[in-house]
Amino acid sequence: MAKRIDVNNLNVYYGSFLAVEDVSLSIEPKSVTAFIGPSGCGKSTFLRTLNRMHEVIPGARVEGEVLMDGTNLYDSNVDPVAVRRHVGMVFQRPNPFPTMSIAENVLAGVKLNNGRMSKGDGEDLVEQSLRGANLWDEVKDRLDKPGSSLSGGQQQRLCIARAIAIKPDVLLMDEPCSALDPISTLAIEDLIQELKTDYTIVIVTHNMQQAARVSEKTAFFNIAGTGKPGKLIEMDDTTTIFSAPSERATEDYISGRFG
């Protein structure tokens, strides 16, 4: 549980287009790391390389290495399917499976991993995961209802419950609150604080206050212009990034001069 990630000289491509150039950074276990930057700077693209979801898009590939506790995720004998079972992901828009009930949604990933489990174990895991996602009290009476019957914020917490039910080592969140109202956003942010005691969390966000509230480390990505690759400008303690960043571009961005 909760592994560290070291990225060394990673280049991310869509076909021949270099989308993100030469990123090296380290993510500590049991911490929250935020990626911030203007739209199109490649922070989401980079996030998706950490669980090999990037290569799902035809023609997409990477150069360089991503080490999880020392193992290169892009080694030729590493199975991307196995990587994704260790590195969970929550998406920008809540995406519970519409044909599955709330309980089935939570167990969807678990059933892939170890086929059948007893009914009692399943129920326990559903409760444990939903409690972990702060959703249990709201849905415990309607576990057999479709996941799409919930509100947007509840759906997103259902997706988090689904992700943590597999007990991943790392949890990636790609702008998890951008489609949610402030109350739901607060619920998710509280949840992130609780989850970091067990998981390594990486969150992409457009909301700088959110990054300041939830993360210990912040990485700022930027892009020089359309068609140019995105780059990691700097990464430091969140308090440092928001009070005394060492790069001029970071200061301009966080003080609202662009982006």
Binding site: V81, V83, R85, F91, N95, C159
Partner: protein, 332 residues
């Protein structure tokens, strides 16, 4: 102030209703087109009912006297002939569907989720071309090319799987039909004819699976097949049922290919490797119509009515299946 600076809004009073001739005309045109469908359906149903009425209500036995293919001496009535034909039609169509549906779903999945993009486009085009082949050509090809190839396989089936009633050989001769003009041949050709329809529809449905759901499955460590089972199939379920019913509709009504391939007969036998046991409503009507007298035509139209009702029931069943779990569909 030049004319181009003038505000358009100033020239349009709030009470102006812009109901130009084209506006009204188009509304009528589309309403009329929609109404025409209903009128056509009602007209066909009314035609079938009125024309078939004399044959359906005939109690005097006159029908049996004047229609040569109803043999009261063998204890046959119109109802019984129609019963045999409905059985044959459903049996052959069901087998065709059983063969065509999994194949079509496989082809559609390959095109939508497995094949490289260029191969997928070419293959999709080829499948669509299959739909363009006239059914009479399918009949010729089936009778001349396919059946001679299949006949030895039928013999093999009967030898090793003859204990299954479907594949039972002829009880008197102990072998399967040497001509191969049996129900299974007709079903196979029908299957080939409906594959393009089912494939085309399911392919479109599979392609519309939300990326969001596919990525949700992949991100929790699903393999491609698991992703298809979790995201693509549930989303496309009603589309698959709809496509299958479209295919079944064509199989039920297909006339020419069955007429050219099948060695006909009337029975409720499940032995699809024996000739002279089955016929379909459509093929039967086509074969008897040229020689039919007035009562004969009326009796044939009664069969057409039966086919019409079956197709209607099949469609209603399909809609019911689709709507049963609509709460869980991808639509909400």
């Amino acid at each position: 102030m030049t004319t181009t600076d003038k505000r358009v809004a100033e020239e349009v009073p709030l009470t102006a209703h812009r109901r130009s001739l084209t506006n009204v005309g188009f509304e009528w045109l589309s309403t009329g087109a929609a109404a025409l469908i209903l009128v056509l359906l009602a007209a066909v149903a009314a035609f079938l009912l009125t024309e078939a009425w004399p044959a359906i209500t005939d109690t005097s036995g006159e029908l049996a006297d004047k229609v040569s293919w109803i043999k009261p001496e063998d204890g046959e009535s119109l109802l019984q002939v129609v019963g045999y034909l409905i059985f044959g039609t459903l049996l052959i169509s069901a087998i065709a569907l059983l063969i065509a549906t999994p194949l079509s779903i496989g082809i559609a999945l390959f095109i939508s989720h497995y094949a490289p993009r260029r191969l997928a486009a070419g293959l999709g085009y080829l499948i669509d071309l299959l739909a363009a082949i006239p059914s009479v050509v399918y009949g010729l090809w089936g009778a001349i090319v396919l059946i001679p190839v299949l006949q030895p396989f039928y013999a093999w089936l009967a030898t090793y799987f003859g204990w299954i009633p479907l594949f039972a050989p002829d009880p008197t001769t102990g072998v399967v039909s040497p001509t191969g003009r049996v129900a299974l041949s007709a079903a196979l050709v029908l299957a080939i004819m409906i594959i393009p329809i089912i494939t085309a529809v399911t392919r479109e449905v599979f392609l519309q699976t939300p990326k969001l759901h596919e990525e949700a499955a992949l991100a929790m460590g699903a393999t491609r097949w698991e992703m298809i089972r979790m995201a693509v199939f549930p989303f496309g379920r009603s589309g698959i049922v709809g496509a299958t019913m479209l295919g079944l509709g064509r199989a039920l009504g297909e006339t020419m290919a069955v007429y050219m391939i099948l060695s006909v007969g009337l029975s409720t036998s499940f032995a699809i490797l024996q000739s002279g046991n089955h016929n379909t409503i459509a093929a039967y009507i086509a074969s008897q119509f040229p020689e039919a007298n007035m009562q004969g035509v009326s009796a044939l139209i009664a069969m057409g009515l039966a086919l019409f009702i079956i197709t209607l029931l099949v469609n209603m069943l399909a809609r019911w299946i689709v709507s049963r779990r609509s709460e869980f569909s991808g639509a909400n």
